[in-house]
Each structure stands twice: as structure tokens, then as C-alpha cells.
């Protein structure tokens, strides 16, 4: 299918979300659309998928203008979409989810389970997407759930164009490399792909052509060979430095000491299995690992949301594992949660209310149980200025902020009180380039003022960009502590439990993904320390 957008414009009142967008997707081409949050990518896709009606302009499929009045029309025209947030019915089987909305029946409304299963198998085989039609969706790993979504999109009557909206946001490195392989083979078999992303490395790895959108306008058409700095600058509209400037760390006394930490989850599985880790004042320890190896439980245990079954946690040299989260926060523990929408913000609250969320009871924000609204607003105004939070003001609900600005609210909150230890879990997840740059530099500033920083990230690039020391977590244990100059392959092997032979295949995947990316030094989230000479020396100095 050849898709062409001509002067596509979408206005909401006097606000123009998309302005005169021209774009061509050739058959079998992977066309990446890059843009920051709020650039108009989602509006564009929603018009293409029939959810929104364009204000002006036209959509042409194989040269014929089309007008969609709903997703049904788009599907009939051969467009399939995989949404960023999966639209699966959790307790249903894979086959039931794939046939959702176009059920296979034996007439008279009687479902045919056999036909549904067969249909899944057919699509699976045709595109090489392994799936068990009888598996229950909510039991599947996220990467496999996404495969279900892709099969669902491809099961349309004649799907020839697939829209993937931020498909890698929730995937592990191994799942990402698998997805990129799937995309390539789909394109080879003639399916056109529109790939929405703001992860430059993936775009470079897989796209045939790149369109950059900023503030609703096409600002650049790039080749995938363009450098990451070039892409990032086009997205943000100014020069972007992708490497983080930082001086050598000067680690001081231990601030966060974890010994033999054991957390058994409800299913009786040891999420943390005797984990030892020490973070010193003035250093950033990066915790690398494939998601689901105990990072979440570790962060929650350090804050006190889960009670450890064994082991100790000390903050600032004092045992803390029997104290409440409030007491630990009072002792100077800052915490950036990995799931911002769930744990980080109360989206119904205003920006100001969110900024004082863990201090609302203290002076000057409250006196004798009464909130001092003026003090809270004053504080919010200061934070908005200091952290460059793009908002209409302290009274705006947090829900209407972009992801990056929401994260800045969380960071402004955590950075607002004297801190001894900072736990930052996935601090730049779902955050655009400009905000990532800002958050990274704040984390380094934080380190330089003497805070002990534990950075938990599933993105190796981020670990390399920031960490003074890298600890690798696997199956609830630290399996290695290495310097930042350690090559990716070594860490990649540690991340999948190198000594276990069954996981070699996964390890190979990660290396393959790294090898595929033509990037030399710069990355989406920062320069790889291994290749930057400055970083290397720094790392060497710090490697005790």
C-alpha cells in the first residue's frame, strides 16, 4: 500500500495540533515519525485511523482519496494499528482477543473456537510471529502481549499498513530487538509500517526514512543515517547535547547500605534473594538489569512500601528497615518512582498540590493541621521556575501536563528537601529528549552536592551516561559490580545471568541489538561512557 498525506491539518478551536502535514509511506517501507510528546504525532495517527476527522487536507491510499468516519473504515481500507497502551481483554485467550470485533462463527452467533485458533496460527505462520492461541493474555509477558496486538492488527481483512505507536516504551531490551526483527520481516513481506517513536536508536536501527514533527509541523525529512544529535536537535528545535557533562565522582561515606535483603512476593517467589548493595555519598550507582529481576521490589523495599523478609537496610548509617516510608522520607530519602502515573503523581491534584505531596504537613506549608495555600503556591511557583515546568500555573491539574513535565513535577518535589539518598527508578521513562537532558543534568548536580544516588534503569544508555559504578541485578541478586568503562557485551551477559546456559540466546539478542545500531557514540539518553575518552578516565579513577 502506498499511503500519502497531503496538507493534513487538524485544529481544535484556535489551537492547531497538526498543520499542513505531508508524508508518503511507500509499500514495504518503514517510515518513522519522530517528535516530542505533544508534537502532534498522536493526533496525526488518530486521523489516519479514523478516530479524528481532519480539519483540512486529504489522505490518499494508492492514489485514491479516502475519508474515514471511524476505525472500522480504516481497518477495511487495510490499516492496522497497535496502540501504545494495549487494548487487550486480559482474561481472554489470544485467539479470542485477535477475533475481537470480527468473531469467527458457525452461523447463528455460535462462536467457532477452532476457526479462531486457526486464524491466529495462519497469521502467526505467515509473518513468523510465534503465539499460542490458547494462552491467556494477562499471563503473557508484555513483549508477547504486543505480539498479540500486532497479530490482531494484521488479521484485518487486508492489512497492508501497520501503525505502531511508541511500541518499545514498555519492552525489555531483548523484546525490543525481537520487535525490530519482526518489523523488518513485515516490511520485507510488503507491509508498510508507520513507526511512531522518540527513541532515536531504534529509529536508526529500523527505519527507511524519518519524518520529524515539531509543534504540528513537519520540520525535517531525514535519512536513518543521520546522527542522533541531528535527529534530537530537529525534534527539540535547538542544539541538544546528548552527552552528560560530569566531573569525576568523589565518593564519601556510605549512605545507603543494603545487606542480605530478601523479599518474597505473594506467589512465594523470592523477588529479592539476599541482595547486597552500598551507595556512597557523591556517587551515582547505576542498577542495570532486565526488568522484572527485582528492581521494583528493591526500590519499594528501600522506601518501605514492602517489608523485607530478611536482611537490613541502613540509611545514613542507621537501621531503617523497621521504619515507615514517612520516617525514611524525613531522614532524607528522595524517591522517584518508576511508574509515574501510579506512584508519582495524583493527576487530579494541581501542580502545586503535587509538589508538596510529601511535605504537606510540615511548615511552612501547614500550621496546626491547616494547609497554608499561599505558601504552597509560592513554593510551586519557585519550583516551576527552577525546574522549567511547562504549565499554565500552580493551579493547573497535573493530568494536563505532558509526561516530561509531569516527571519534572516529581523531581521538583523530591529535590525540594535536604536529601541524603536519592532512589531514581526509570527517571526518564516516557520523557522526551529535552526533558531527559534536563533530568540527567539535575541528577549529576544532585550527586555533586553529595547525595548518594541509586539509579535504576532498564536502558543501558542511561546507565552508561550517568553511573559512576554499575551494579547488575539478576534474579533478585547483584551478580556483578563493575566500572562504567565495562563494555556493553559484558554487562549484557551479566544482565541475563551469564552462568546460566539456558539464557544465552537472550544474551545474544541484546548484543545483536547493540551491534545493529549504527550509532557510534551518542545515544538518545546520553553518550556511551565506554567510548568517550573523558568518561573512560573518570570511570577508571572511580573503579575501586
Amino acid at each position: 500500500m502506498r499511503l500519502e498525506l497531503k496538507g493534513l491539518t487538524k485544529k481544535f478551536g484556535s489551537f492547531t495540533a497538526d498543520d499542513d502535514i505531508d508524508l508518503v509511506v511507500e509499500p514495504g517501507q518503514i517510515h518513522a515519525v519522530l517528535g516530542e510528546n505533544g508534537a502532534g504525532k498522536s493526533t496525526l495517527m488518530n486521523m489516519l485511523y479514523g478516530i479524528l476527522k481532519p480539519t483540512s487536507g486529504e489522505i490518499l491510499i494508492d492514489g485514491e482519496p479516502v475519508a474515514f468516519s471511524g476505525p472500522g473504515d480504516a481497518i477495511a481500507a487495510g490499516i492496522g494499528m497497535v496502540h501504545q497502551h494495549f487494548k487487550l481483554v486480559g482474561p481472554f485467550s489470544v485467539a479470542d482477543n485477535v477475533q475481537l470485533g470480527r468473531e469467527h462463527t458457525r452461523g447463528a452467533g455460535v462462536l467457532s473456537a477452532r476457526a479462531a485458533r486457526q486464524a491466529v496460527r495462519d497469521v502467526s505462520e505467515q509473518y513468523g510471529l510465534r503465539l499460542d492461541p490458547d494462552a491467556i493474555c494477562e499471563d503473557l509477558p508484555v513483549g508477547v502481549q504486543q505480539r498479540v496486538e500486532i497479530v490482531k492488527a494484521l488479521s484485518g481483512p487486508s492489512t497492508e499498513l501497520l501503525i505502531l505507536d511508541e511500541p518499545t516504551a514498555v519492552l525489555t531490551p531483548a523484546e525490543i530487538s525481537e520487535l525490530l526483527d519482526i518489523m523488518r520481516s513485515l516490511a520485507e513481506s510488503g507491509t508498510s509500517i508507520l513507526f511512531i517513536s522518540h527513541k532515536l536508536k531504534e529509529v536508526q536501527a529500523v527505519a527507511d526514512t524519518v519524518t520529524v514533527i515539531r509543534r504540528g509541523k513537519v520540520v525535517a525529512e531525514l535519512e536513518p543515517t543521520a546522527s542522533e544529535t541531528e535527529m534530537a536537535s530537529a525534534m527539540v528545535g535547538r542544539e541538544v547535547t546528548l552527552t552528560v557533562d560530569k566531573a569525576p565522582a568523589e565518593p564519601g561515606e556510605p549512605r545507603l547500605e543494603i545487606e542480605g535483603l530478601m523479599v518474597v512476593d505473594e506467589a512465594g517467589v523470592k523477588a529479592l534473594d539476599g541482595l547486597d548493595l552500598t551507595v556512597r555519598a557523591g556517587e551515582i550507582v547505576g542498577l542495570a538489569g532486565v526488568e522484572g529481576n527485582g528492581q521494583t521490589e528493591l526500590a519499594r523495599a528501600v522506601l518501605g512500601l514492602v517489608r523485607p523478609d530478611a536482611g537490613t537496610i541502613a540509611i545514613d548509617g542507621r537501621r531503617a528497615d523497621r521504619t515507615s516510608p514517612a520516617q525514611r522520607i524525613e531522614r532524607g530519602l528522595g524517591y522517584i518512582p518508576e511508574d509515574r502515573a501510579r506512584d508519582g503523581l495524583i493527576t487530579e491534584f494541581t501542580v502545586a498540590e503535587n509538589i508538596v505531596l510529601n511535605q504537606y504537613r510540615e511548615a511552612p506549608y501547614a500550621k496546626n493541621g491547616v494547609v497554608d495555600a499561599a505558601a504552597v503556591r509560592k513554593r510551586a511557583e519557585d519550583s516551576i521556575a527552577e525546574f522549567d515546568i511547562r504549565t499554565q500555573g500552580p493551579a493547573e491539574p497535573a493530568a494536563s501536563l505532558s509526561g516530561g513535565n509531569q516527571q519534572k513535577v516529581v523531581i521538583a518535589r523530591e529535590f525540594s528537601r535536604p536529601r541524603r539518598v536519592l532512589v531514581a527508578a526509570q527517571p526518564t521513562r516516557g520523557v522526551d529528549v529535552g526533558a531527559t537532558e534536563f533530568i540527567h543534568s539535575r541528577l549529576v548536580t544532585e550527586r555533586d552536592t553529595g547525595t548518594a544516588v541509586l539509579l535504576i534503569s532498564s536502558e543501558l544508555d542511561e546507565i552508561y551516561a550517568l553511573a559512576d559504578r554499575i551494579a547488575v541485578i539478576y534474579n533478585g541478586r547483584i551478580v556483578g559490580e563493575v566500572g562504567p568503562e565495562t563494555p556493553r557485551e559484558v554487562i549484557g551477559r551479566l544482565m541475563v545471568g551469564a552462568e546460566a546456559p539456558s539464557t544465552e540466546a537472550e544474551s545474544a539478542d541484546i548484543e545483536a541489538f547493540d551491534a545493529e545500531s549504527p550509532a557510534s557514540g551518542g545515544t538518545a539518553s546520553g553518550g556511551t561512557a565506554a567510548e568517550g575518552p573523558d568518561e573512560e578516565t573518570n570511570g577508571g579513577d572511580r573503579d575501586h
Binding site: F12, S14, L52, T55, P337, G344, E348, F349, V371, S400
Partner: protein
Amino acid sequence: MTVTTETEAPTPEQPEAGEQPEKRPPFMVLFGRYLTEANSVMVTIYSLLLAFLLGAVLLIVSDEHVRGTWSYFFSRPTDALEASWEVVSNAYVSLFEGAILNFHTLDRMAAGNADVGDLLRPISETLTYTTPLIFTGLAVGLAFRAGLFNIGAQGQLVFGMLGALIVGFGLDLPAIVHIPLAVVAGAVAGAAFGSVPGVLKATTGAHEVISSIMLNNIAALFLVWAIGTGFLHSATRSELVTKPVDDSAIMPGILAPIDDDLRVNYSLVIGAAAAVFVWWLLSKSTFGYRIRAVGFNQHASATAGMSIGRTYVTTMGAAGALAGLAGAALALGVGSGGITTNTALEYGFDGITVALLGRANPGGIVAAALLFGALKAGALSAQPDVPVDMSTLLQATIVLFIAAPALVKALLRLRAPRGGLVTLEAKGW
């Protein structure tokens, strides 16, 4: 239960929230736009109108004589229309006369057969029924804000009633001390009973809806048993009724100086004060901040160091205290009679609908309690002209429409409001 916003995909004719309009349209245009928009105020007003409309249809259908006139509608349509108008207008006029102002009393006053007391009686009755509803509405509404669905207001009310009663007849004190003490006893008893589901939820995770429904049954049966015991049972009467509270504990009537028969008493003032206090608590205090935070997102609240369990216990305790005050109002308001198994009526359950209608806001709850109190007083006084079920029916339909704003919007072809339709939903239920 919380107020949530369903955002709809914006459409071109609907300006986006947040943008600055270049020039402001004239006031009347904006006002007209507001009237035709499905915002929460207009949906409430339209829900009331639709409910009364539906009530009118039912009145017409259920009246045998009027049904008869419709059978020959095509030969003499005026008969049917006149008869219908008559039955509907009679019913609604009687409701109004029973709840607010009786025009016949004015005539009788002119003739010297009635006094100001008679004129004020409907209002007094309305406010008498309104008083407990304010408390129970607040009890349910406050818990909503913490994400808790307090079905247990009825049971909390029963215990508050018993607490106030026992202090009311058990102690011998001057009125200036006795009344406040009995009121406080009601609040404390309600708080104690109300915090039970909170404690159960905080410690064992038991859902408050289940536990508070069960506790309602326990309270209702406990009341039947307690009234029969020698401690509470009236010494002079054989039927199931308790001793009356001492004269020194009877809540004085607000309008008693005008006419002893006017029942509305100072519990109404306590109710109004409670509404102001709950508003203050929610919007100005750190406790209210925590209630709202936990109600919106308990995960983020816990991450910020708040104790979710403690919030549940204290909120349910505060809600129970409010429902207990409703019980105190009943116990101290019945005057020289005692409490029967009937005294509590369904005030606790009606509190749920009042809180819903008031959208869990103290001001809205007071307005809703007034409306429901008026419907109840009107329906009772309009018997037998209007079936007493009319008031229940209207209440039910109003809430039905309010709970389904999309239905109101579709029926009246209203425009989508900025920021989406506002619906109420119980979290985790």
C-alpha cells in the same frame, strides 16, 4: 466513590480547554452556551426536570379516570389533555404545598382561621426531614472523597441514636450541658461503629462495602434487641419503644417560640455547621488533603509517605461520627416519645443518594438533602391525593439521570462540556 472525568475526543466545534479565546463573546452568548452544555450543574437541573416529567407521565398513566379520557383522545382530545393537566398539576401543587407553602393557609389566615405557625408548618416539616439527611449525606460524601463507599451510614446512625438516647435519659444534668453531651455521645458511638469497616479494611483488606452492609444488619437487629431490654425499654408502655430522653436533653425547636408544633430544631443548625466544617476539612486542612490524595490515588499517596490504613480508619471514624450525629438528631428530636425500630427510617441509605446527588461536595449535599427533605414532607402531607411512593419515585429517577449524564446529554441533545462528562463512580467496585 470519586468524581471522575471521561474525556471525549474533542470535536472541532468544541473549543479546547486551556486555549485563550481571542475575544470574549457577550455574556448572554456564553450563558446560552452554558445552558445547552452537559456540565455538571446543568445535568443536575435537567435531571430534576426530566424526573418530574417522567413522574407526570406515570401520574397520568396510573390514574384510571385520565386513562379513560385518553381512550377517546382522537374524538375529543381536549378531555384527555385537560384531565391529564389536572391530575399532574394537582399532584405537584400538593407536593409544593406540603413542602414549602400552602396557599390555602394564606386564605384561611385572611379569614382568621390560621396563624403564622400554620403557614410555616410545611417548611418546618421539610427542614425536619432534611436534618438527618444532611448528616448522613456528609457521612457518605466524606468517605467517597477518600475512595471509600460508606454503605454503613444506617448502622452508624442507629448506634449514634442509641448513644444519644442513653446519655439523654441516663444522666441528670442541666440542659446547657446535657444536650451537647448527648450530641457528642451520638457522634462518638457512630464514630466507634463507623471505624470498624475502616479497621477491617486497613488490617485485613476486607472491602468496606461488604463489611458495612453486614454491619447495617447487625445494627438493625441490635436495635430491636436493645429496645426490648429492661435497660432501654419504656417502663410505661408495652409496645417496642424506649424510654424518652429527659426534658433537659430534648433539642429545642427553632420555631417553637412561634408555635410548639413546629418540629424543626437546632440539630439543623448543627447540620449546617457540620457541612461548613466538612467543606473546611476537605479544602483547607492537612487531614482533608490526605483524604483527597488517598481517594484519588492511594499508590502515590503511600509513595509520598502517607499511611493509607490510618487514613481509612480515621475517615471512616469521621464519617461514622457524622452519621452518629444524624442519630443524635433523631433521638433528641422525637421529644417526649421514645425511639422505636422505625425512628431511623432509611435515613442512612438515603444519605447515599443525597451524597451522589450532591456530588460528594458539602454544599451540594445540603442542597440535595433539602430537595429530598422537601419531597418527603410534600409526599407525606399530600396523601392520599398523591401516592406516597411518588416521592421515592422522583428521588430514584433524579439519581438515575444524574448517574447517567450521557443519557441526559443524548435526550436533550446537549453539547459536550469542556473536559468531558463528569460521572461518579465507586473505585474498585
